[in-house]
């Protein structure tokens, strides 16, 4: 693999007696956008927070052959309610708080403003964040992660509160960011069509194990989705080669047994 890549090797996480992540190995190249998909409880969030170094784990995680430091990392957990009345700009500034002292340097405000602008939040920059909608809060928090230009960006369901327009806008931002900064971006998403259309690679996770990693065409096949999600799907493809995954019906019968094994 090329220099500067993120190598996750035999990553395992145990919670109590339950193994929530079992020997996951994954090599991610700089400048790529990867969708992390899988059913509820597959271990997507666990994989992201363990990679961020926030969970006790076994196995190694290296960036370009070196141990990972938090300075390289932008990790956004699943959104939760914010009850703070910090303004959007103040919130984003906190993303580079190690640069802030009693005085906030003009360069820091400039960087925060640029990032706020990237997300189209200029008009809301001086609004308290708790007066924003869920989707706007999510974008403000993402801006907080991006402002320090991390080499690795790990996002846990960043599109969960976004409308269609903003979902596409967000992936546009992520792709541009990955390209311009040669960053590694991983986003857990539930919408498989979105993953297929917007991401370079897909990592499919089920029951704490990695079921596959590769291009959307290779990974998101009707057969794989059927066995992992227990849903019959039809894969549609338009003239431009864009793919959409159309869910048809749940696979009957074997749901409970498949789960138990």
């Amino acid at each position: 693999m090329s220099a500067g890549g993120l190598a996750i090797e035999r990553l395992s996480v145990q919670r109590g007696r339950k193994i929530v992540l079992e020997s996951v190995s994954l090599a991610l190249e700089p400048g790529t956008l990867t969708a992390l998909v899988g059913p509820n409880g597959a271990g997507k969030s666990t994989l992201l927070s363990a990679t961020a170094g926030l969970l006790k784990h076994e196995g190694s995680i290296t960036l370009g052959g070196l141990a990972l430091s938090f300075a390289d990392m932008g990790y956004l957990p699943q959104s939760n309610t914010i009850t703070s009345s910090l303004t959007v700009l103040e919130t984003v500034l906190l993303g580079i708080q190690d640069q802030l002292g009693w005085r906030v340097p003009a360069a820091a405000v400039e960087a925060a403003m640029r990032t706020v602008g990237m997300f189209g939040l200029d008009d809301l920059a001086h609004r308290p964040i708790d007066t924003l909608s869920g989707g706007q809060q999510q974008m403000a928090l993402l801006a907080q992660r991006l402002v320090k230009c991390p080499r690795i960006l790990l996002l846990d369901e960043p599109t969960s509160a976004l409308d269609l327009h903003h979902q596409l806008g967000l992936f546009e931002i992520l792709r541009t960011y990955a390209n311009e900064h040669q960053a590694i971006v991983v986003a857990a998403v539930h919408d498989l069509s979105l993953a297929a259309q917007q991401c370079d690679y897909v990592a499919l996770l089920a029951d704490g194990k990695l079921k596959g990693y590769g291009t959307p065409q290779d990974i998101l096949t009707a057969g794989a989705i059927r066995s992992v999600y227990r849903v019959e799907v039809e894969i549609l493809c338009n003239s431009k080669g864009q793919r959409a995954i159309l869910p048809l019906s749940p696979v009957a019968g074997q749901a409970a047994t498949a789960r138990a094994i």
Binding site: S49, A52, L54, F70, A71, M73, Y75, L76, P77, N80, T81, I82, T83, S84, S85, L86, T87, L89, E90, T91, L94, G95, Q97, L100, W102, V104, A106, V109, E110, M113, R114, V116, G117, D122, A125, H126, P128, I129, D130, L141, Q144, R145
Partner: protein
């Protein structure tokens, strides 16, 4: 400026808001000075500003013995103590509301008042058995008991993840524990001693002396750099635990460290003057409503507001009953509520 780049305007906006908030803190400081002056000139024997001024510049050993005694031995220590206690409670309240993620938290939420009260009650009841003077033993005992309460909560919290919920739960348990112990001491003591205990619990600046001012000031000054060092981290904690820790912040360490500082500030405040409620609850709300949650501004303003409420209460107490000034602990709520209402009315939004 229609042709200026947008981000320039917004940056200007941020700089302006910083300047505005610094000015608000400065204005509050001026306000505090005025209240302090008002407190210095009110009292049973009355005193005009010129008289106060000459007594102050002539020093404690002036020819005019009466004025010198009143100013230097009675009023100045009381006023300074009020300023210090208010500042301690204001900062402790703000930190407590931040680390517990709860707008209802105050320095006393986790049982620090009950433990201090128990310590004082013990010293008042059994102090004569020890060869230590009461004026020294009571605050010492209150201080030690508060730190003991803090240690118990700390130990419980350190065993687990130290979430806000766990701290509150442990704190409430400690609160009831020390409250019961205090009730037991009160039940066992004679009527005279009981009266002393109840009076201590009221919280009054009349107990101030230069010794108490020095000790409290020392503790306050010692805690201040620790408080200010975490300014940005505490601001980040306002966005919630998961968000703060995902930014690489060690939330557990920050919470326990801040909790320890709150314990010291609170016990410094209550050990000498007794429990004074409300200040630590309301001052942070006032501060946040005016300057927002950026702790660079909220910490100083909360301290200044705490002092202002306390000294304001002292002035009101002296005006209501000039002979025996009503303990500030009783007045603070009376003085604080109009202030809160005023702030809410002016800013037109609920403080958080």
């Amino acid at each position: 400026m229609p042709f200026a780049p947008r981000s320039h305007d917004l940056r200007e906006g941020y700089t302006q808001s910083e300047t505005r908030r610094a000015a608000q803190v400065a204005a509050a400081l001026v306000g505090l000075c005025l209240v302090v002056l008002a407190d210095m000139v009110t009292g049973p024997s009355g005193m005009s500003l010129p008289e106060l001024w000459s007594a102050l510049i002539n020093g404690p050993a002036a020819e005019d013995k009466t004025a010198a005694t009143i100013v230097w031995h009675i009023r100045l220590p009381q006023t300074l103590m009020g300023v210090l206690v208010g500042a301690c409670l204001g900062i402790a309240g703000l930190q407590m509301q931040t680390i517990l993620c709860n707008p209802l938290a105050s320095p006393f939420t986790l049982g620090f008042s009950a433990s201090a009260g128990f310590g004082a009650a013990m010293a008042i009841t059994f102090g004569h058995l020890l060869p230590v003077p009461q004026f020294f033993l009571i605050p010492l005992s209150a201080f030690v008991m508060t730190l003991l309460a803090c240690a118990i909560i700390y130990l419980i919290a350190a065993m687990r993840e130290a979430t806000a919920e766990l701290l509150v739960l442990a704190g409430i348990a400690v609160l009831f524990f020390f409250q019961s112990l205090q009730s037991m001491v009160q039940f066992l003591s004679s009527p005279e001693v009981l009266q002393q205990i109840v009076f201590w619990l009221f919280g009054s600046l009349l107990k101030s002396s230069w010794t108490s001012v020095t000790v409290t000031a020392g503790l306050f000054v010692a805690c201040l750099p620790l408080v200010l060092a975490d300014t940005w981290k505490l601001t980040a904690l306002r966005l919630g635990d998961s968000n703060a820790s995902s930014m690489g912040l060690n939330v557990r360490a920050l919470r326990l460290r801040t909790f320890g500082i709150v314990a010291i500030l609170t016990s410094a405040a209550v050990s000498f003057v007794g429990t004074i409620g409300f200040v630590g609850l309301i001052a942070p709300h006032v501060a946040r409503t005016i300057v927002g949650e950026d702790h660079r501004f909220a910490i100083p303003l909360s301290a200044i507001t705490g002092s202002t409420i306390l000294i304001g209460a002292s002035v009101i107490g002296k005006l209501i009953s000039p002979g025996a000034s009503i303990p500030v602990g009783i007045i603070t709520a009376v003085a604080g509520i109009p202030m809160l209402v005023a702030v809410i009315a002016v800013h037109g939004k609920t403080p958080r």
